[in-house]
């Protein structure tokens, strides 16, 4: 065990191209999923947080369910959509990074929307009135409220990235864990462990945890300014 750990650490610093290829693909797919989830989720969350409308409770339930949705079901749905006979089969995305990004984005979006929404709602409603009274147009009100809720928005983005990067089941189903093409850190850890290749799995595990720690460290730093 200790031996495997030492070998694992050595592997990280050895510049093994297969290892770094997996890390790079992980960052690319999770990063892309985060960008899409952020571009869509932050404005939608802000908009929902600022408005009250009929069916609000229902929509909240949908979003909160999405925040805790079993990833493997997302994987199944995306698989069926992208499979050759599925409605999006013509994209020919199954077992490609695009398919993984799709699944990861669907997982991350409710987190980004939900956390953005609740942090915008957490701002005093009187502040909105104050902003309008200072001469803000509706879009200026929305931008200012979002900037006031920026700490919450960062939390939402970090949560989204965390969900995307740590996902195994859905990514395995739609990506296929193909070496050099769709193999990411989580799926590689699973495979290498099963094959008894513990030092490789541990190296990836250490790397994944360090990345998670770094992301949260940056988030905390941003929050305390």
């Amino acid at each position: 065990m200790i031996e495997a750990l030492i070998e694992g650490v050595q592997l990280i610093f050895s510049g093994d191209s297969g290892f770094w290829e997996i890390v790079a693909l992980t960052l690319i797919t999770s990063g892309t999923a985060l960008v899409i989830a952020g571009v869509v989720g932050v404005p939608v969350g802000a908009w929902l947080g600022l408005r009250s409308f009929r069916g609000e409770g229902f929509l909240n339930s949908v979003i909160y369910t999405g925040m805790g949705f079993p990833p493997v079901v997302i994987g199944l749905i995306v698989f069926l959509l992208l499979s050759r006979k599925g409605p999006l089969g013509w994209l020919d995305w199954l077992f490609t990074p695009q398919a993984m990004i799709t699944a990861q984005t669907i997982l991350a979006i409710p987190l980004v929307i939900g956390v953005t929404m609740s942090s915008v709602r957490g701002i005093s409603p009187t502040l909105r009135m104050q902003l309008r009274s200072l001469g803000a147009t509706e879009s200026q009100v929305m931008r200012t409220m979002l900037s006031e809720a920026r700490f919450g928005v960062i939390v939402g983005l970090v949560a989204g990235l965390g969900a995307a990067i740590s996902e195994v089941g859905a990514v395995m189903m739609v990506g296929g864990n193909i070496e050099g093409k769709t193999r990411v850190m989580t799926t590689a850890i699973m495979l290498e462990t099963r094959q008894g290749n513990f030092q490789f799995a541990l190296a990836l595990g250490i790397m994944l945890m360090s990345m998670a720690f770094l992301i949260n460290l940056i988030a905390v730093k941003l929050q305390t300014e």
Binding site: S124, S133, L134
Partner: protein, 254 residues
């Protein structure tokens, strides 16, 4: 003082800034405000007093175009307000200061500059500094708003309202949480902008002494209704209505 007010109002009588007739505001069939008639004159300080929940803040929000009346007419600059009008350019001439400062999570300078930025004015630096100085906040210019005391924060909020040079300043219990030093500073500034810039000011207050100190005229709201509006001296010394008499004598507990 009374003669001076008379003269000031004499000049303004042709130009009512706001005029309300038979105005009501209801929330789900509950009437929260009823104003049979009210004129806000250009350049005056109008005080609004009355017990909690009497509709003072609702009236102020209607004057600030933050809420629309349910029924009745509201004229601003001799023009009927109807949802289409006033538009943003006219609404930007009216601003409101709330009981709590509601500052943004930014520096003092950025807070005061906010209204100018909304108007696309990026060369307002001198104006911002000048306003900050007038409210005794120069040393705090770079401080984060959340580090300020209550009095400092409210002075920043006042600076933020005044830097945009509004035509109308609406004050909703602006000093009710503050110490005498800050109350004095803020009242002094209110009097100054009224005198020097002929800014029209409507101030809602719980404190009848503040109304006496600041206002040219005072209005009483009670049970969601505007009962009486009169010259400040008349209002306190010679009230026309039994409710007003009881209120100024302190018989109505609020």
């Amino acid at each position: 003082m009374a003669a001076e007010n008379q003269e000031k109002r004499g000049l303004m009588s042709e130009t009512d800034l706001y005029r309300m007739t038979d105005l009501t505001k209801t929330y789900e069939n509950r009437t929260v405000l009823n104003v049979p008639e009210l004129v806000v004159e250009r350049g005056e300080i109008l005080g609004l007093v009355g017990p909690s929940g009497a509709g003072k803040s609702t009236l102020l929000r209607i004057l600030g175009f933050l809420e629309e009346p349910s029924r009745g007419q509201l004229y601003f600059h001799d023009r009927l307000c109807d949802g289409e009008w006033p538009q943003i350019a006219q609404r930007r001439k009216v601003t409101m200061l709330f009981q709590s400062p509601l500052l943004l999570r930014r520096t003092v300078f950025d807070n005061v500059e906010f209204g100018l930025k909304l108007r696309g004015n990026k060369q307002g630096g001198d104006r911002v500094h000048n306003m900050i100085r007038q409210l005794g906040l120069s040393e705090l210019s770079a401080a984060q708003a959340r580090t300020l005391s209550g009095g400092e924060a409210q002075r920043v909020a006042l600076a933020r309202s005044l830097v945009i040079k509004p035509e109308v300043l609406l004050l909703d219990e602006p000093t009710s949480n503050l110490d005498p030093y800050n109350i004095n500073l803020i009242e002094e500034m209110i009097r100054r902008v009224n005198r020097e810039a002929q800014m029209t000011i409507v101030v809602v207050t719980h404190n009848i002494f503040q109304a006496k100190r600041l206002a040219d005229r005072v209005g009483l709201l009670m049970d969601s209704k505007l009962v009486e509006v009169n010259e400040t001296a008349e209002f306190f010394n010679n009230p026309q209505r039994a409710e007003t008499a009881a209120f100024v004598k302190g018989e109505i507990v609020y």
